[in-house]
């Protein structure tokens, strides 16, 4: 996403804060696939993911005033809200992690036009590739923590693995992801 797109998002969000429905729907069309994709990734079932995606956009409408473009891009703000809502639902319903994996590397991704620039998309793709190529035990603990809201000790119990092992796997995996992320930043 280039600076013009970021500025355009900021302008649209100011309009949304002023009650502009067209601006809201324009942003919905731009980000709905990312929001729904993340909700589906966390929750694993379409019906609840739809509810959460809808709730996230209602939050965008009612809290548009709190969005500050100087702090980051709109997609990150919106996806953070989505993850938070989805994790709250998981905790409220005491759900187990979904058995179907909507981000399975073997599954052909559905083509959805994406608002991100090639550079930005490449960086996210690099991180996703790095995540998928981590040793499985490291990838799993990161996914259980980030996408399913589980703490170290909950993961240890869920996987029947010693707590120290879980901590080490998570730390090593995140260190590798941070290296990939930092390299992406330098090359941009």
């Amino acid at each position: 996403m280039n600076n013009i797109d970021l500025a355009e998002d900021a302008v649209l969000m100011r309009k949304v804060a002023g009650g502009d429905r067209r601006a809201f729907l324009s942003l919905y069309d731009k980000y709905a696939a990312r929001v729904y994709g993340l909700a589906l990734r966390v929750l694993g079932d379409r019906m609840t993911a739809e509810e959460i995606a809808q709730d996230a956009f209602v939050r965008m409408w009612t809290r548009a005033e709190t969005f500050d473009p100087k702090r980051g891009r709109l997609s990150s703000w919106l996806l953070t809200i989505t993850r938070r809502l989805a994790l709250d639902r998981i905790r409220f319903e005491s759900r187990r992690p979904p058995t179907s994996n909507y981000s399975n590397p073997g599954e052909a991704p559905e083509y959805v036009p994406d608002p991100a620039s090639e550079t930005e998309e490449a960086r996210w793709a690099t991180l996703k590739f790095a995540l998928n190529t981590l040793p499985e035990e490291q990838r799993l603990v990161i996914e259980l923590a980030f996408y399913h809201g589980m703490s170290h000790s909950q993961i240890a119990e869920y996987q029947a693995t010693p707590l120290g092992t879980v901590k080490t796997r998570l730390r090593l995996g995140m260190k590798k992801l941070r290296l990939e992320w930092d390299q992406g930043e330098k090359s941009n």
Partner: protein, 244 residues
Amino acid sequence: MDHQAEEQLAAYVLGALDPEERLQVEAHLSGCPRCQAALAAYEGVAQGLLHAADPKRPPRSIRSNLAKQLGKTRARPSWRRSLQRVPAAGLGLAVGLIILLTANLGLLVQSQRLIEQGQKALAQQQAGQTAVALASYPSSQVALIEEDGVRGTFVYDPSLPVAVMYVWGLPRLSDDQVYQAWLVDAQGERLNGGLITFGADQGFGWLMIEAPKMMEDYIALGVTLEPAGGSPAPTGPRILGVDL
């Protein structure tokens, strides 16, 4: 906690720490620029993970439901737009007066700054000690704050009138604004909980609350944006809230 705390930051950004560990990391972060910088790097990874989920086209019904719902739910009114209604000449005069006063008070401010820095360090230390002490109480409770990119912890004991909040990721403020906390009781009354104090880079804030009643008498904590010095009752937009 020494700089091996840096290793816990990866778990912190993923939300994988248990409440007590999280509190310890936050207490450490509030006074450690090195770990704050490392945290920023890990926050980048977390943002990347948000975008790593495959985009999926949602059903059309969501869009139409939202379009119907917009008429029933109003976007929150903007406090900035309220400010824009102040006449320009009056605003200019006020700004001019502020600049004049600021220039004349420059020397006094410089000497007071050292005193304030000392007081801030002491307050931060007290907040950290209180938080860790509270966390060790058997009946202590920890409410996690995760809202719109803001993260933090509120630790309290229902049978005590004391609580500590750590918060990370609040938008940077101009000098004429503050974040003010409010304790909400069962009748909906808002009691001033104090102003959030920030470290040098304004990224990490903390607040120690000494309430007139026990914490069990309050049902929620809220934070609003207020003019410098705070307000006797909430006037600005709600920034975050925690149910107790």
